[in-house]
Assembly symmetry: C2
């Protein structure tokens, strides 16, 4: 059984929607997805570090469309781990575990890794939206499209646009 590592923010969790909502609510700025293309999250949003350190930021994020059904099927076919680079944000850690329990109750706590760098984690396939995680991974790498990575050509990774494409590729 192949070991599949799945990222949370920007892959399972729709953090962009939440960033846009915070930017609107806190600063009155309306961001369109199109203007965020090619910018890292902390360049795209004025006050990103405040948002992600705000209590319940991660509690109230919604899952990405189609992620729940597909992940449940992947969980039956692969040795699945959820791997999130999250230790930079201590508040997020408890919230992320409770969020997974709420939306992905079929994921056992043994299947979750919250880390600082993903270089220490081994597996066969990784789904992630950040090059920094994919570029150092030794297995097959799948780039999940998000505004910050949309304008970059890729050659070493397979790009997927949504969870339907993940399902088509891996199920």
């Amino acid at each position: 059984m192949k070991r599949l590592l799945v990222d949370m923010d920007g892959v399972l969790a729709n953090v962009y929607e939440q960033f846009i909502a915070f930017e609107k609510e806190k600063l009155g700025i309306t961001r369109e997805l199109s203007e965020l293309v090619g910018k890292m999250e902390d360049e795209a949003f004025e006050d990103l570090y405040t948002y992600v350190n705000t209590k319940d930021f991660f509690t109230n994020v919604l899952p990405m469309a189609g992620s729940i059904d597909t992940l449940e099927k992947l969980n039956a076919k692969y040795e699945l781990f959820i791997v999130s680079a999250a230790t930079e944000f201590p508040l997020s850690l408890t919230e992320k575990m409770l969020w997974l329990k709420r939306y992905f109750p079929f994921i056992h706590w043994k299947q979750v890794v919250l880390c600082g760098t993903k270089e220490i984690v081994s597996g066969d396939i990784m789904i992630d939206d950040h090059f920094k995680n994919l570029d150092t991974f030794k297995g097959q790498t799948i780039l999940f499209s998000q505004p910050h990575n949309m304008n970059r050509d890729i050659k070493d990774h397979i790009r997927v646009e949504n969870w339907n494409e993940v399902a088509a590729l891996l199920l």
Copy 2:
């Protein structure tokens, strides 16, 4: 530079002292270390799962004697990661990060892994008090003595009794 993985509970964090304090405070039972030998933590203490799910249980644990100085020296010599199997206890996660920041400020958040199983983490040397973590690890394994492992003969791991012995072995 060799990658060294160091456990938290029972290695860096003196959880036994905290279990004994909770058992005394909550149930009025005085436990001696000697009566805990050979018993897993959840056999040794009446209400372990309540204790570890209590807010601030992990915040108020004290570091093991000698751990701070030795870990700081190890941090200069090894590619050091703190690896804690902690996702079973969501409340512990945020508390553990803040606890590390308080007592071990030289540990960067990139050096912390909070997981369910340690099988997914790779490295050269592991220090842990649990056989379940050491037995599946592919590198050098160091067993940190705690009451639950004290009565077992070991052949595949090196046993250390305290942080002075860790220093003597690895520095």
